[in-house]
C-alpha cells in the first residue's frame, strides 16, 4: 500500500511541477513554428513570475498578478520579435540578452519596491491560485482505485495546472485546424511562399510572438503565484531551457511536447523524493547529485533524440524580402 501512495504522491507532484514547463514549452513551440528561435523563454518566465508576484502582492488578487505577468512577458516577446524580425539580429543573442537583463532587473526592482533583498513579499492564499477541488471529489473518495485517482491525483491542483493542460489541445487546434495556424506553420517552413501568397510574414511572426508571450506569462505567473508564494531571485532555475529541450524532444508538436514536459517534471518530482532516502544497492545519494538529475537527463535526451530533421526549416533565419 505504501508503494501505491508513493506513486500517487509522485504523480501528483509531477502534474503540479509540469504546469510552468508545459506553458513555456508551448510558447517556444509557437515561436519556433513561426520561424523564431526563442531562447529567452527563461527570461520571460522570470519576468512574468516577478510581475505576477509584485502585482498580486500589491493588489491582493492572483488575477491582477496573472494579467501583469502576461503583460510583462508579451512586451519582452515583442522586443525579441523586433530584434528578430525588424533588425534581423541574431535570435540566440537577443534571447540571451533578455535572459540576462531580466535576471538583473527583477531583483533590482524587487529590492527598490519591497526592500526585501531582491524578493517580493510572501503571498497570502487569497493572492495565489490555490488548490481547486473538482466536483464530487469528496464523495468519490471512498471508491477504490478510481476514487483515489480522481480525488488525490486529478483533483486539488491549482487553476494554472488545469489551464496548462487545457492549453495543449487549444494550441494544437490553432496550429492544425485553423487557417491562421496553417499560415503560422508555413511561415516557419517557407516564408517566401507565404510572402508570395500575399500574406505578411512580419505580421504573422509578431502574432506568434504575442501568443508565445501570453503562454510564457502564464508560465511565470504559475511559478510565483501557484507553485510558489512570491518571487525569489533566479526562481526559474533553467526551466525555460528545460522547456526548450522538451519542445525539441517533442519534435515541435504539442502532444509529444506535453509528454516530454511530463517526463521532465517526473524527474524533478523524483529528485525531490529521493533526497535523504536510502536506496537499495547504492545507499543514500548525496543531495547535490539528485539536484543534477533533471539537467543530466536533459543532456542525455538531447544527445539521443536531437537532430535537426524535424525543426521548422526557416527557424532562426531572418526573412529578407529582397533576397
Amino acid at each position: 500500500m505504501e508503494f501505491i501512495t508513493d506513486i500517487l504522491l509522485l504523480s501528483d507532484s509531477t502534474l503540479r511541477i509540469s504546469a510552468p514547463l508545459i506553458l513555456a514549452a508551448l510558447a517556444g513551440l509557437c515561436a519556433e513554428r513561426a520561424g523564431i528561435v526563442d531562447i529567452g523563454l527563461e527570461g520571460k518566465m522570470l519576468a512574468a513570475a516577478f510581475g505576477a508576484a509584485s502585482a498580486a502582492a500589491v493588489s491582493g488578487s492572483p488575477w491582477v498578478g496573472l494579467f501583469a505577468g502576461i503583460l510583462v512577458s508579451v512586451l519582452l516577446a515583442l522586443l525579441h520579435g523586433y530584434v528578430s524580425i525588424h533588425q534581423r539580429g541574431n535570435q540566440i543573442v537577443s534571447g540571451m540578452a533578455i535572459n540576462i537583463m531580466v535576471a538583473g532587473l527583477a531583483p533590482t526592482l524587487a529590492n527598490a519596491w519591497f526592500s526585501l533583498g531582491g524578493q517580493t513579499p510572501l503571498l497570502d492564499n487569497e493572492a495565489r491560485f490555490t488548490a481547486i477541488e473538482l466536483p464530487l471529489a469528496r464523495t468519490l473518495e471512498g471508491v477504490p482505485i478510481i476514487g483515489s485517482l480522481y480525488s488525490d491525483l486529478l483533483s486539488g491542483h491549482s487553476l494554472m495546472t488545469y489551464l496548462a493542460f487545457a492549453m495543449v489541445p487549444v494550441i494544437a487546434w490553432i496550429l492544425y485546424k485553423t487557417r491562421f495556424g496553417l499560415r503560422l506553420r508555413a511561415v516557419g517552413e517557407n516564408p517566401e511562399a507565404v510572402d508570395t501568397a500575399g500574406i505578411s510574414v512580419t505580421m504573422l511572426r509578431y502574432q506568434a510572438m504575442v501568443i508565445a508571450g501570453v503562454l510564457c506569462g502564464m508560465s511565470g505567473s504559475a511559478l510565483s503565484t501557484a507553485l510558489g508564494a512570491g518571487f525569489i531571485r533566479d526562481m526559474s532555475a533553467g526551466k525555460g531551457f528545460l522547456a526548450l529541450a522538451a519542445m525539441i524532444f517533442g519534435r515541435w508538436k504539442p502532444v509529444p511536447t506535453l509528454l516530454a514536459c511530463l517526463l521532465f517534471a517526473f524527474v524533478d518530482a523524483l529528485q525531490g523524493r529521493l533526497q535523504g532516502v536510502s536506496l537499495p544497492l547504492v545507499g543514500e545519494i548525496p543531495v547535490q547529485f539528485t539536484i543534477m538529475l533533471p539537467y543530466v537527463i536533459t543532456v542525455v535526451i538531447l544527445a539521443g533524440f536531437a537532430g535537426k530533421m524535424d525543426a521548422p526549416r526557416a527557424s532562426g533565419i531572418p526573412y529578407e524580402k529582397d533576397r
Partner: protein, 369 residues
C-alpha cells in the same frame, strides 16, 4: 532602399556604430537608475570615483577586468566558429577544480612547478568540461546553448558536492577547500612593482592579468595568422562553404569549443591562484555570463575584448562602491547593463546603420559631387 546600400568607411562601421549601440545601452541603464529614484549623473560620478579614485580601486578594476578578458575571449572564440558558448560559468568552475587538484597534488613538494601545472590544469579541465557539449553539437546536433547551460548547473552541483564532501577543509563548515600550501600562488602586482622599487597599494591584482593579455594576443594570432583560425572563421561564417572547401566542420567545432572552455577555465587563475588561495563554491559569480557582453562589446576582436573587459572592470569595481553609497542600487544593476549591452551591441548591430548611412551620404558624398 533608394540607390542601394552605401558602403561605409571602416572607421564608421567598426568604431562609430558599436559606440552608438553601447551609448544607447548605457543611456537606458541611466533611465533605470533614474527610475530607482537616484541621480544618474551623480551615480556615474560615484562609479568613476569608485573605479579610479585611489590605487587600491584601480587594482580592483583591473583585477575584475582580468576575469572578463578570459571569459570574453572564451565566448568570442566559440562565436568565431559559429557557436554560442554560454557555459563559461561551468567551465570556469571546472577550471578552478583542475587548478586546485594540481595544487594539492604538487604544492607541498614543488610549489613553483605546481603553479605551472595548475595553469595547465585549469585550461585542461575547462576544455574537458566543454568537450561533451562540443561533441554533442558536432556529431549529434544537440543545441550547444542548451547543453552548456545544463552543464553550468551540473558543474555547480558537482562543486557543491566536492566542497562539502571530499575536498572540504577538515573540520570546516563552509563550502570551501583547505588553504593552498604556503608559497603556492601567483605574484600580486604590488609585490611585482616593489621589485622595481615602485610602491603601490595592496590589491588583488596579480600576474593573471599578464597571462590574460598573453592569452588575448594568442587568440589574435590564432584567428588572424593560423590555418586553423582561418578554418574556424570560415566555418563560423558559412559552414556549408567550409565543408565544400574540405574543412572538417565537426572537428573545427569541437576544437574551437574546447579552446573556448580552456580560456573560461583559466579564469580560476585570477580568482583562486591570485586572490582566494583556496577553492570556494560558486566563485565564478556570473563572470562567465559577463563574457558574453564583453565579447559583443569588443566586437569579438581580442583588442576590443581587452578594452571592453576593462570597461566592465570599471562597472564592477565602481558599481560595488556605488551599491555601498546608494541603497537602491545593487550589483544586480550591472547585470541589467550586461543584458542591455548584449541586446544592443550583439542583437541589434545594425540599429544605426540607416541613419548613419544617410548622414554619411549627405555630408561625405556631397563633397565629391
Amino acid at each position: 532602399m533608394s540607390g542601394g546600400p552605401t558602403k561605409l568607411p571602416g572607421i564608421l562601421e567598426s568604431v562609430l556604430m558599436p559606440f552608438l549601440n553601447i551609448l544607447v545601452a548605457l543611456f537606458i541603464s541611466g533611465l533605470v537608475v533614474l527610475a530607482l529614484g537616484e541621480d544618474p549623473f551623480f551615480a556615474l560620478g560615484l562609479l568613476i570615483e569608485g573605479a579610479f579614485g585611489y590605487q587600491e580601486a584601480i587594482g580592483y578594476t583591473f583585477y575584475y577586468a582580468t576575469n572578463f578578458i578570459f571569459t570574453g575571449l572564451a565566448v568570442s572564440v566559440a562565436f568565431h566558429a559559429g557557436h554560442f558558448n554560454i557555459g563559461g560559468e561551468g567551465q570556469a568552475m571546472l577550471g578552478g577544480l583542475g587548478l586546485t587538484l594540481a595544487v594539492f597534488w604538487l604544492g607541498d613538494t614543488a610549489p613553483v612547478l605546481s603553479v605551472i601545472v595548475a595553469i595547465f590544469g585549469a585550461a585542461l579541465f575547462g576544455a574537458g568540461w566543454a568537450f561533451i557539449p562540443a561533441w554533442l553539437q558536432a556529431y549529434r546536433g544537440s543545441h550547444v546553448v542548451i547543453t552548456t547551460i545544463m552543464f553550468n548547473f551540473i558543474a555547480s552541483a558537482l562543486l557543491a558536492y566536492l566542497l562539502v564532501g571530499p575536498l572540504q577543509r577538515p573540520g570546516g563548515q563552509m563550502p570551501e577547500s583547505s588553504d593552498f600550501p604556503e608559497g603556492v600562488g601567483l605574484m600580486q602586482f604590488h609585490e611585482l612593482l616593489e621589485l622595481v622599487g615602485i610602491s603601490f597599494e595592496q590589491s588583488p591584482l596579480n600576474l593573471s592579468f599578464l597571462i590574460a593579455l598573453i592569452a588575448a594576443a594568442g587568440v589574435w594570432f590564432m584567428l588572424a595568422r593560423t590555418r586553423f583560425g582561418f578554418e574556424m572563421r570560415v566555418t563560423g561564417q558559412n559552414s556549408d562553404a567550409a565543408r565544400f572547401a574540405g574543412v572538417s566542420v565537426p572537428r573545427v567545432t569541437v576544437i574551437a569549443l574546447m579552446i573556448s572552455g580552456a580560456l573560461a577555465g583559466m579564469m580560476g587563475l585570477n580568482e583562486l591562484l591570485g586572490e582566494q588561495l583556496r577553492l570556494i563554491g560558486n566563485f565564478t559569480l556570473g563572470y562567465g555570463f559577463v563574457g558574453i557582453a564583453v565579447a559583443f562589446m569588443g566586437r569579438n576582436h581580442p583588442l576590443g575584448i581587452v578594452l571592453a573587459a576593462i570597461l566592465f572592470g570599471i562597472l564592477y569595481q565602481g558599481g560595488a562602491e556605488l551599491a555601498f553609497e546608494m541603497p537602491n542600487i545593487t550589483r544586480d544593476l550591472i547585470v541589467v547593463i550586461q543584458g542591455l549591452v548584449i541586446l544592443f551591441a550583439g542583437g541589434m548591430p545594425y540599429l544605426f546603420r540607416r541613419p548613419v548611412t544617410a548622414l554619411y551620404r549627405r555630408f561625405a558624398l556631397q563633397g565629391e559631387r
